[in-house]
């Protein structure tokens, strides 16, 4: 009998609150024994995390709004406190060239999103990672709206701007979820 791919069940139990996990994991195990691939199994786990989180947010939308508020407040606090420290020490941290400056700026922002994701999930620990999603969605929407408004100007995006947009759209949700992951309980949701 083939063993189940590792981490899927633990990850699901850790990130999403749902009473159906046991039956779902049993179904996945049964199908995996039949003829399904490891990729199929992992996609199903990912789908369960996304579907479960969205369902939770739809049911607890007030908590979702609160999570957005906490995320934004944390990001602003980070931006203000760390940003001032950062600006005061630019003579020590002087990045080499334009690429170095870009990497440093993006790292600064993405670290801020990771800290915010951590704060959102830490203050809603019983909800797993679910409430980090509306915050991530809002941040991505704001980034996109910024891009759309710049597209309305009579010029097209430069290669540099397009690259920055892709980094942001992938990096923002990834940082928030990663930050949130470290705030979830190791043994599963309370």
């Amino acid at each position: 009998m083939a063993k189940q791919p590792p981490f899927g069940g633990q990850l699901l139990n850790r990130l999403v609150p749902n009473e159906n996990h046991d039956a779902l994991l049993g179904d996945l195990y049964e199908e995996y024994q039949r003829d399904r691939s490891v990729l199929w199994y992992r996609v199903q786990i990912l789908a369960a995390i996304v579907v479960g989180s969205l369902k939770y947010v739809r049911r607890h939308w007030v908590l979702g709004l609160r999570a957005i508020g906490i995320g934004v407040a944390t990001f602003l606090a980070y931006f203000y406190v760390v940003g001032i420290l950062f600006l005061n020490h630019t003579h020590i941290i002087s990045p080499p060239g334009l690429v170095g400056a870009f990497v440093m700026a993006e790292t600064f922002f993405l670290l801020g999103f990771a800290v915010s994701g951590w704060a959102v999930v830490r203050t809603h620990r019983a909800c797993g990672i679910a409430l980090a999603l509306p915050f991530a969605g809002l941040m991505c929407a704001l980034t996109l709206s910024e891009t759309v408004s710049s597209l309305l100007m009579p010029r097209s995006l430069t290669l540099w701007e397009s690259g920055t947009l892709v980094v942001k759209l992938l990096g923002i949700p990834a940082s928030i979820v990663l930050g949130g992951y470290f705030a979830t309980r190791r043994a599963g949701i309370a």
Binding site: L25, G26, E30, G52
Partner: protein, 106 residues
Amino acid sequence: MAGPTLGTTDLMILLVLMRLGDEAYGVTIAREIEDSTRRPVALASVYATLDRLVERGFAVSELGEPTAERGGRAKKFFRITGKGIREVRAAKQSFVRLWKDLPQLG
């Protein structure tokens, strides 16, 4: 009487529950849908719809016994209720009314 309130997925799953009878649980439901639509189905979406149907009183669930072939986990069986059957019937009547006299649909 108000019209049916079922979405396409809800209706499809209720029909599958009727077809499968006592054998309706996550895997068999997903397989039946995959066979009829010829599209892959996420088991989590099936459970999300089933949960909604249970909440609305159109289906009920019951846990089975844990088995080794499922890694020691129990199956969760689902069954359509009388209210669910009435809702499916109402949906069918609405569809038939709309379907009638449409030459494009033969």
